[in-house]
């Protein structure tokens, strides 16, 4: 199968079970969302897929290949990228320099000593394309720390996309973004390449229902249910979880 295929994935921290027997598919072109209350194990699940954490049991296959034992950097090179929940950029570098870094590395130029970092045409073309795609043109030569938070989240996404991933995991892409800027994030996600498999981990239900074609609900490390936005919206257990949870 093209894309991600997760079977029986479990993760224990000592006696604490944070992921329990998760089966999950993310084929090419998918737009899935992972939702669930705080502490449901959403970020743990993302970290298991990207290789930051090692699973206690289960398999993770990518394009048919078992990647469970590969390191984070190796999985990135295979095409699995993730944005950070807390913006993790290079604050003193300009937007262009931020984007240039992953592209240079992907093209294997990252250790070159005797060329200027901004002199490679194909790299610069990619940088400019990303700048345009995320509408960062007027800010491209400013240090990232000068940007508004919503704009930094866009750079965060652009940086992950610069790796030309096949699977992109967006870990709370709108967290901390003022609601007046949320549309920037949604627009950017809607413009992602069609063949890219996208998994969004998010609290903002508005965003989830706008983007996702399929929603997975995670509760206490287990998958409660999976379905289309309509199915999830009308699911009694999910309603109880969200409405009951917020009032109790």
């Amino acid at each position: 199968m093209q894309g991600l295929e997760v079977r029986g994935l479990s993760k224990h921290f000592g006696g604490l079970v944070v992921s329990e027997n998760i089966d999950f598919d993310l084929p090419a072109g998918a737009r899935k969302a992972l939702i669930g209350p705080n502490g449901a194990g959403k970020s743990t699940f993302a970290n298991l897929i990207t290789g930051i954490l090692r699973p206690s049991a289960g398999t993770i296959r990518f394009d048919g290949q078992d990647i469970g034992s590969l390191k984070e950097a190796q999985r990135v090179q295979m095409g699995i990228a993730k944005t950070f929940q807390i913006t993790t950029l290079f604050p003193q570098l300009t937007v262009r320099e931020n984007l240039r870094l992953p592209i240079l590395e992907r093209q294997g130029l990252g250790r070159r000593l005797f060329m200027r970092a901004d002199s490679n045409r194909s790299v610069e073309a990619e940088v400019s394309a990303l700048v345009d795609q995320f509408a960062l043109g007027s800010l491209a030569d400013r240090p990232v720390l000068d940007l508004a938070y919503g704009q930094q989240r866009l750079v965060e996404m652009a940086l992950s996309l610069a790796l030309k991933p096949k699977v992109l995991i967006l870990d709370e892409p709108a967290a901390g973004v003022p609601s007046s800027e949320t549309h920037l994030i949604i627009d950017a996600i809607e413009r992602l390449p069609d063949d890219l498999a996208v998994l969004v981990i998010e609290h903002d239900m508005d965003l989830v229902f706008r983007i996702a074609r399929s929603i997975v609900v995670l509760v206490q490390g287990r998958i409660l249910t999976e379905g289309t936005p309509q199915e999830i919206a009308t699911n009694a257990k999910v309603r109880e979880l969200y409405l009951g949870g917020s009032h109790g």
């Binding site: 990228a81 993790t88 604050p91 570098l93 870094l101 000593l113 060329m115 970092a117 940086l159």
Partner: protein, 319 residues
């Protein structure tokens, strides 16, 4: 950008020429400044660019000095060959120690870098038959540079030789600083987590930077051995590492010319203050460092920008 780097190079070359004619009786001191500039530049690559906190850059300086000195005495007295040997020795020590050190950060790393320099000093002290121990390594007589210029008593050859080597190192680091590798070091400095997420081995990048910095510090050590024709245990001293760090912070990190400026200012103030008041000169140095750290946290190179901001009434100098 291009114009600016040419003008920086022009200003420095002019300063070297002017210093030569203005202070003909201080050539030994001026030569010492060039050697320190090279050491501080190596520190700027390691600390300013790659963000590797070290208080033991003297380890590689000492290794380069002893290696070049021994090479000149026992094998070949050619100065350039000596520089190469010094660079290799510095890089080799950085590689061997770096394999362990570059896996650590913060306080652990600082303590380990100090330890490596201390071990170097102790080895040089114990191996008296080879290194001369506490008496220092004597009898280094470098041959003519390119077979033409002999090292003279006044130090004219030494001055221009050191100036040329410093200019070469500065040029080399300027190129590397703008390269993809230089950019990746800044990336490692600013956000190692993100670099890993990009698919880069942060350990490997830090190790390469540390080895390069070690090679350049080794060149500085070799130069010192050839010009003073003596290598003492002081080359490994903690004071040297610490002073190099102060010079870098004084001038400003991550910009290379900050390293050069900081070295010139520190050593000149040190020289004048120590001559005027041999007992209390450290107060002057202390005051200078305090003033810069509080008023100009980005170092002396940020002075024009800070003044401009101050005159505009902007109290928030950017760090």
């Amino acid at each position: 950008m291009k114009l600016r780097s040419y003008s920086v190079a022009g200003v420095m070359l002019f300063a070297a020429l002017a210093a030569f004619f203005l202070f003909p009786y201080n050539l030994a001191f001026l030569t010492r400044i060039f050697i320190m500039i090279i050491l501080v530049l190596s520190l700027d690559l390691v600390l300013g660019y790659a963000g590797i906190a070290t208080l033991g850059q003297a380890a590689m300086y000492g290794a380069g000095a002893y290696a070049a000195g021994l090479f000149a005495i026992h094998v070949w007295a050619d100065p350039f060959a000596g520089l190469v040997v010094g660079a290799v020795a510095g890089a080799a020590l950085a590689a061997v120690s770096g394999v362990v050190l570059m896996r650590t950060t913060g306080l652990t790393l600082i303590m380990l870098t100090i330890a490596v320099a201390q071990i170097g000093a102790e080895i040089a002290n114990r191996m008296r038959e080879i290194t001369g121990g506490a008496d220092g390594l004597r009898g280094i007589r470098p041959s003519k540079i390119l077979g033409i210029w002999d090292f003279d008593f006044i130090g004219v050859t030494g001055y221009w030789y050191a100036c040329a080597v410093a200019a070469f190192v500065f040029g080399l680091l300027s190129v590397i600083g703008r390269s993809p590798f230089g950019l990746s070091l800044r990336g490692v400095h600013e956000s190692p987590e993100r670099m890993e997420a990009i698919g880069v081995s942060v350990f490997q990048r830090r190790l390469i930077a540390y080895v390069m910095g070690g090679g350049i510090a080794g060149i500085a050590g070799a130069l010192s051995a050839q010009i003073t024709q003596l290598v003492s245990l002081e080359t490994f001293s903690f004071t040297l590492s610490a002073e190099a760090l102060i010079m870098l912070i004084l001038g400003g990190t991550g910009r290379l010319y900050g390293a050069a400026l900081g070295t010139v200012v520190f050593m000149t103030v040190h020289h004048l203050a120590a001559a005027n008041d041999p007992f209390n000169w450290l107060f002057v140095i202390g005051g200078l460092v305090l003033t810069v750290v509080f008023a100009l946290p980005s170092g002396l190179v940020a002075l024009p920008t800070s003044l401009k901001r101050l005159s505009k009434g902007d109290r928030h100098a950017r760090s």
